[in-house]
């Protein structure tokens, strides 16, 4: 290299393997040498390809990599359906006390009372928040909560000797995990459409509901960003044919303290603690998909569940819960996530829970109003937004050739994470926008102004958007190539 040009975007970071040098051992991490006692025939012959780097190299590499991410802590992140709100640092600090971190899941109950007490109280509080009778905390994400829920529905019918119910109804707007879960549980998936106002098409529901209906999976507010107004009717239709109502709690944030799934008539629900209860999303996880049930489903809850007695707290297992659908994890689900959710709820308290629902809704309706004023078309203009709402770029796409992806990518240039795009599938060129209650009005204003400016930019020169982003470490990436020329692991240059 002899001359240089100014770096105009953040440097790419080499892979950790590019930093590796054979024979480098620069950590204070290895324990003292001990002989390998593995029998010769079982012994590994070639060392695995792990990096040989110094601690500083590793630290610097992953620190620099981290800086290539958008995150709540650095950016407004209105990713619809994901509830990207502030993750209070107190939750992390107190869930990571050395004693909790060192706690073995199979430690004797007498060494676990502090941990178990917290989980027990969390179960109780979640019952109250949702209006359900019992809760199990073990599912490790929303989708696993769904699995537990649908498995309980199945177990419930079978326990009553009803083996013929082999269908689960989902709405057209359902999140992909709903039908995927129903299939995983061995059910046939029956889809019902939504009407023009975003509610479930009741007539269609009536047509498909019947003796083969094991249950229906609903999100309310739905993923269309509206509150399902026919919920009472849906309940009587499904219950009427002997089916159960499953509540996908991904959108619980919208109605916290306002209306409870139990009161709407749901029989079984999951909650995404990483959304509603502000545990961090960790770049993709961990989450927690705690499940709640009505009385009649309580015996089927997945184990372990924490119980309280005169002697203290303990885990219930298969011996205590013979009808349980069983275990979904090797231990206690995402226990550390549960501590964070517990601390969060205690910190916002009764009043705070209600405010979550209120202010999440206020922010969404405000941002929707602002964007409507700016000329954006929302999917359901006659409806209230819940905690989120949908902008559709159908007209812009037709008139200007601009897509939801283009707008999303251009937003990144201005430091805003994009809303969810192309979900729900039934709204064309959609942006599902969820501001959450922890963002300030100023942030929403800045976002609205930027979106408006991007629209203007599209009107002037749509190619500007097509090639966005410009300011990130990489320009628009070629997804097609990623899938066609599969490069899934690093290989040394030949």
């Amino acid at each position: 290299m002899n001359t240089l040009s100014a770096v105009s975007r953040p440097e790419l970071e080499p892979t950790i393997f590019d930093l590796s040098a054979s024979g480098r051992r620069a950590t204070a991490q290895a324990p003292a040498l001990a002989n390998c006692t593995v029998p010769a025939n079982l012994r590994r012959r070639v060392r695995p390809r792990l990096p040989e780097v110094s601690e500083l190299q590793a630290l610097r590499h992953y620190t620099r990599l981290s800086r290539l991410n958008f995150s709540i802590d650095t950016n407004f992140y209105p990713l619809g359906s994901c509830t990207m709100k502030y993750n209070p640092r107190g939750c992390n600090q107190y869930a990571m006390l050395p004693e909790f971190l060192g706690h073995h899941p199979y430690a004797h109950a007498s060494l676990s009372q502090g941990f178990l007490e917290s989980l027990f109280e969390l179960q109780e509080m979640l019952c109250d928040v949702t209006g359900m009778k019992a809760v199990s905390l073990t599912p490790m994400a929303g989708a696993q909560g769904e699995f537990a829920g649908v498995a309980m529905i199945r177990a419930f019918h079978r326990q009553r000797g009803d083996f013929h119910r082999d269908e689960i109804i989902v709405t057209q707007a359902a999140h992909g995990t709903n039908p995927a879960t129903a299939s995983m549980c061995g059910f046939k998936v029956v889809e019902v459409p939504c009407d023009a106002t975003g509610d479930c098409d009741i007539e269609a529901l009536k047509r498909v509901a019947g003796p083969r209906t094991a249950g229906i999976m609903l999100t309310n507010p739905s993923t269309l960003g509206v509150f399902e107004r026919h919920i009472a009717e849906i309940r009587s239709i499904v219950h009427g044919v002997g089916g159960l109502l499953y509540y996908d709690g991904a959108n619980l944030n919208a109605i916290l303290g306002i209306v409870r799934p139990g009161d709407m008539g749901f029989d079984v629900i999951h909650m995404n603690l990483h959304k509603t209860f502000a545990t961090p999303h960790g770049g993709g996880g961990p989450g927690s998909g705690a499940v709640g049930v009505a009385e009649r489903l309580a015996p089927f809850l997945p184990i372990p569940v924490v119980a309280k007695s005169a002697e203290g707290y303990r885990f219930l297992d298969e011996r205590d819960c013979p009808l349980s659908i069983g275990r979904l994890s090797g231990f206690m689900g995402n226990a550390g996530v549960l501590l964070r959710a517990y601390i969060y709820i205690r910190m916002i308290g009764r009043e705070g829970l209600r405010r979550v629902g209120e202010f999440a809704t206020l922010n969404a309706n405000y941002l929707m109003a602002r964007l409507q004023q700016a000329g954006f078309q929302v999917a359901f203009p006659a409806r209230r937004a819940t905690h989120e709402f949908i902008v559709t770029l159908k007209a812009e796409s037709r008139d200007l050739g601009v897509t939801a992806t283009d707008v999303a990518k251009r937003l990144l240039d201005f430091g805003y994470h994009a809303p969810t795009t192309y979900f729900p599938l039934l709204v064309p060129e959609c942006l599902l926008i969820e501001p959450t209650e922890t963002e300030s009005r100023e942030t929403l204003d800045g976002f609205a102004v930027t979106l408006e400016a991007i629209l203007n930019e599209a009107r002037e020169d749509v190619s500007r958007l097509k090639e966005a982003p410009y300011t990130l470490p990489v320009r628009r990436l070629d997804d097609v190539r990623a899938a066609k020329q599969l490069e899934l692991v690093w290989r040394p240059d030949p």
Binding site: R44, H104, V189
Partner: protein, 459 residues
């Protein structure tokens, strides 16, 4: 209002722009009858200080315990740098890297992780994590059914020496898809899966066999023979492995003539704290030929429109958000943070460090056995070669011993009587590199002491 930034004036003007007069009006589509929301059992808000004090007191109550339990969750030293990095906001508070350009940090980390895990297990590709080891086994069984399509009924051999909770979890999840599991007994002398039971299993129409190495008792299985037998009978081999052990054990990719087909395991030993059972992460690797059957996120390398390299989620057509009811799995949120921790852990310790961790753990467990051998009434019934865990026979009901050890601040082992009543009074005990000479002496002394007093009381 904790965490809600609105001023009174904000609320007023926002409502006026929306065109309503109160926040309550925003809920006018919610049927009145449903609006109840009694939250009577939720206590009023506490300050961070107050709840922090409560949690600190509870943590102190559980105490600093000297831990000798393994049984699938292992106490290893975690370099301080690991969690200093993963709790950085940019990692801790990002989400699934849907917007690749704004998520290169997460994506490249996953790509590096995939490389490390594939190499560690001797396979070609890895996914970006599953929930944990147990549920990963369930996913592997479901995957084996998709990958071994020739069969119209699904049967899987599941040795009894596989972790009992993994078996429960897997059976529970897979049963709904009509997979039948057949249990294979273990040899009571060696603790290995019984070769005679295995090789005499009905071999026709087998989908897969599960082999855990080392098995739940810490004993090495004869993986080559088992793998070859399975492949001869058209079954896929699902390997369940402890990632630390792979620093010194032949990786599943090298088992038998052709190697295992799907490898899964609990990733917790790689830099994830015990933390009462989670969050951990499950890993899964396989051969390229099966990649389209694999559940979970996968990251691929690609280029941007200027030709610069970059990373993106790929093969998304397998996943629920595209394929819905026909997806390979319903998994969406995974265990990304823990996967990041593992990647950093492996980068810092490296292959040699991991080897030392494995060897030191074996040595410490051996030391523990040697010293416990002198304690009257204690013996070690299984004589197979072992990794860092051992079945220990005790002269009293394990629960009573464990309770007394707990009173002395010691987590003494995993009680095997419920899962394996045929073993009699047995515990599963583990010592990793974290245990010092003194720790081991303290354990031996406590066991001796408790047994003496229990026997005195019994006499």
């Amino acid at each position: 209002m904790p965490f809600i930034p609105h001023t009174v004036e904000d609320v007023r003007s926002m409502l006026s722009i929306i065109g309503v007069s109160s926040i309550d009006d925003l809920f006018d589509e919610v049927p009145k009858a449903l609006r109840a929301s009694f939250l009577d059992n939720i206590p009023p808000a506490l300050s961070e200080m107050e709840i922090g004090r409560i949690m600190s007191d509870r943590a102190a109550r559980d105490g600093h315990v000297l831990n000798f339990i393994g049984a699938g969750a292992y106490e290893h030293h975690i370099p301080a740098a690991v969690w200093a990095i993963v709790t950085r906001g940019e990692i801790y508070t990002a989400y699934t890297p849907y917007q690749a350009e704004a998520s290169q940090g997460t994506l490249q980390t996953i790509f590096e992780y995939q490389t490390m895990l594939a190499s560690l297990t001797g396979m070609e590709v890895a996914n970006a994590s599953l929930y944990d080891g147990a549920s990963a086994l369930a996913e592997a069984c479901l995957m084996s059914v998709r990958a071994n399509k020739k069969l119209h009924q699904s049967r899987i051999l599941l040795p009894k020496a596989v972790h009992p909770q993994y078996r429960r979890c897997t059976q529970g999840i897979c049963e709904l898809q009509k997979i039948t599991f057949e249990t294979i007994d273990f040899d009571p002398l060696s603790g290995r899966t019984s070769w005679s039971a295995f090789s005499s299993a009905e071999s026709a129409g087998l989908t897969a066999v599960v082999i855990q190495q080392p098995n739940f008792f810490g004993i090495y299985e004869d993986v080559d023979a088992l793998t070859d037998w399975a492949h001869q009978h058209g079954a896929l081999v699902i390997a369940v492995v402890n990632p630390t052990s792979l620093a010194v054990l032949r990786p599943p990719g090298d088992w038998g003539a052709k190697g295992a087909d799907i490898v899964i395991g609990e990733g917790q030993p790689l830099g994830v704290p015990l933390s009462g059972g989670g969050p951990y992460f499950g890993f899964m690797t396989t051969r390229m030929e099966h990649v389209r059957q694999m559940p979970g996120r996968i990251v691929g390398k690609t280029v941007d429109l200027e030709g610069r390299p970059g990373y993106a989620l790929t093969l998304q057509a397998r996943e629920q958000h595209i394929r819905r009811g026909k997806a390979t799995s319903n998994i969406c949120t995974n265990q990304g943070l823990l996967m990041s921790a593992a990647t950093i852990y492996l980068s810092i310790v490296g292959a040699e460090g991991l080897e030392r961790v494995a060897n030191a753990s074996m040595a410490k467990t051996q030391m523990l056995m040697d010293r416990l051998s002198a304690v009257p009434g204690i013996h070690f019934p299984l004589d197979g070669a072992r990794f860092h865990e051992v079945v220990m026979s005790v002269p009293v009901p394990p629960e009573r011993l464990l309770e007394q050890l707990a009173n002395r601040g010691i987590a003494g082992g995993y009680d095997l009587t419920h899962d394996y009543p045929e073993l009699g009074y047995c515990l599963l005990v583990c010592a990793t590199e974290t245990k010092t000479d003194l720790d081991i002496n303290r354990y031996v002394a406590a066991v001796t002491d408790v047994l003496n007093s229990l026997q005195a009381a019994g006499a």
